[in-house]
């Protein structure tokens, strides 16, 4: 466990706690994006450049922005203040416990947990070729799905435009 891992871990845990505890939803999202950045840093530290950078690009660049937009569009301009504890705290707690137990079970059931063997960094080229050879069918399927979603989004946007213009 290196110092940098500790720093990143503290950052992730701290910002996640802040994301849950802060009262202003925008602040929550902003701290959450720190978490995303921290996770990306973890990936980078493990030598997984591609995954780490994609993490930043997708989560910080797209997901956080989307969340922020959604909150901004729906809440009052004066700023909606959330309570720290939700009314459905019990449900949340149950969900959290469920998720945690599933994750914990997954981690513990794998032999990886104890192993710290040095893994050579995976280059982008390797990812690319494995995607194109081993996993070409899933890749194409996902591509098709996303293209359909993209076209659908454009169609929806176009229809709305015709209504107004």
């Amino acid at each position: 466990m290196s110092i940098s891992f500790l720093i990143i871990a503290v950052l992730i845990v701290g910002s996640t706690a802040a994301a849950m505890g802060l009262r202003n939803p925008i602040h929550c999202v902003l701290t959450l994006s720190i978490t995303f950045g921290g996770i990306a840093a973890l990936f980078l530290q493990l030598g997984a450049e591609f995954v780490g950078l994609t993490q930043i690009m997708v989560y910080v660049g797209a997901v956080a922005i989307l969340a922020v937009f959604a909150i901004m569009m729906t809440q009052s301009r004066r700023g909606l203040m959330l309570g720290t504890f939700s009314r459905n705290a019990l449900v949340g707690l149950l969900t959290a416990v469920a998720v945690f137990s599933v994750l914990g079970w997954a981690v513990l059931s794998q032999p990886v947990a104890g192993v710290t063997a040095a893994v050579s960094p995976v280059s982008v080229q390797q990812i690319g070729s494995s995607l194109m050879h081993e996993y070409v069918l899933p890749l194409e399927l996902i591509g098709l799905l996303l293209t359909a979603a993209l076209i659908g989004a454009i169609v929806i946007a176009m229809e709305r435009k015709e209504d107004t213009e």
């Binding site: 591609f50 994609t54 690009m57 982008v124």
Partner: protein, 391 residues
């Protein structure tokens, strides 16, 4: 002999490192690499502000700033002192922490992008395996900074500006990435260093820059349009929209924070121009093989200045687009063309080299361009009009 001026900064760095104890070697090396970038690019920002004001002045039949120092050379310095000494006003209702962090984050993100930029032979800060990806990933953080600035000011104008900026940046990030994908396809690498090295070879005296291929040329044009939008430059400067929403997301900033936004924006512009040079214009390679005696970093900055001048020239000429037109342009023209360009680039790879390949690809690019233009034209119903006259 020709190697020495080319590598002068690399040699200098290693010479300096010789005086540093080996225990802090890694840190010293990093500092020695980062520090010049942190100095050179803000300096370039200062030069560019002056160049822009002078250039715009000349375009507009004016002299531009010429009062501070000889020919107004100290103007950036005066501007800097002014913005440093100005009162830093934070709106009463603003979210102080976020308001403070936004310009910082913006500048940090803008600086990070330079890490993968090869400004000369052996002069990239890090040779990341996924360098191009890193660049775009860092670019997406800028959006967050812009949002923070717009939202934390609690001003309606800055909110409008932030909404415009984010919508624009997200929309143009897609064509920006897609336009650069063709280069990655051809080079077979995401590393900026590799991409440049692949272009720095010569046939006869002509280099193998990607801009000299049909798909590369189209890619370059699309990339530059998208880059203009990404860096909020005219005619895509709607997020600032001086005459509409006054200054957009940084309307409530003053003094040095305002200057930081300015800095961040220009750094972003340099970085995207730098990546365009890296991807399409052969990075630090000389345009003719006989010109390789000029140091590589000089070529890089020469190309950068040329692109900056293009930006200034365009700014001096064109009016601003409207939000919906901007979006339509991205989704209806740039995006399809970028996708089509990828097909052409694939075709190029599988055809035999020669003039035939060149012309087939060029033809295949021009046809959809005209078809798309004609379709858009029909939809928009724009025309040069004729007017009747009453006697």
């Amino acid at each position: 002999m020709t190697q020495t001026p080319d590598q002068v900064f690399v040699i200098l760095k290693h010479w300096l490192l010789g005086y540093v104890p080996t225990s802090v070697h890694a840190i010293a090396s990093a500092v020695l690499s980062i520090l010049p970038l942190m100095v050179v690019f803000p300096l370039l920002f200062a030069i560019t502000t002056l160049l822009e004001r002078k250039g715009l002045g000349r375009i507009q039949n004016r002299l531009g700033p010429n009062r501070t120092g000889p020919m107004g050379l100290w103007q950036p310095l005066a501007d800097g002192i002014k913005s440093l000494t100005k009162e830093d006003i934070v709106p009463f209702t603003a979210d102080h922490i976020v308001h403070f962090l936004a310009p910082v984050l913006l500048v940090v993100a803008a600086f990070l992008a330079y890490a993968v930029l090869p400004v000369g032979r052996n002069m990239a800060l890090v040779n990341l395996n996924a360098g191009v990806l890193f660049f775009f990933a860092v670019g997406s953080v800028v959006e967050l900074a812009v949002f923070m600035a717009g939202w934390s000011s609690r001003s309606k104008y800055s909110m409008l500006g932030a909404m415009r900026a984010i919508a624009q940046m997200i929309s143009y990030e897609v064509p920006l990435v897609l336009a650069s994908v063709v280069v990655i396809m051809q080079a077979g690498s995401l590393s900026t260093v590799d991409i440049v090295e692949r272009q720095a070879t010569y046939t006869g005296i002509f280099p193998h820059w990607y801009v000299f291929t049909p798909w590369g040329f189209l890619g370059f044009i699309l990339f530059m349009i998208a880059a203009t939008a990404e860096s909020n430059r005219s005619p895509f400067d709607l997020p600032e929209g001086e005459s509409e929403i006054i200054a957009g997301y940084y309307i409530e900033y003053s003094g040095f924070k305002f200057a930081l936004f300015f800095l961040g924006e220009y750094l972003g512009m340099f970085a995207t121009s730098g990546i365009a040079i890296t991807l399409f214009l052969g990075g630090w390679s000389a345009p003719l093989s006989v010109l390789t005696f000029i140091p590589s970093w000089a070529w890089f900055f020469l190309k950068l200045l040329t692109l900056i001048c293009m930006f200034i020239w365009v700014r001096g000429t064109l009016p601003r687009l409207r939000m919906d037109q901007l979006m339509n342009f991205a989704w209806e023209f740039i995006l399809p063309m970028a996708l089509f360009n990828m097909v052409i680039a694939g075709l190029w790879r599988f055809m035999n080299p020669g003039a035939v390949r060149w012309f087939v690809c060029a033809f295949l690019i021009l046809v959809p361009m005209f078809v798309l233009s004609a379709l858009l034209k029909r939809k928009k119903k724009l025309q040069l009009r004729t007017y009747s006259f009453a006697e």
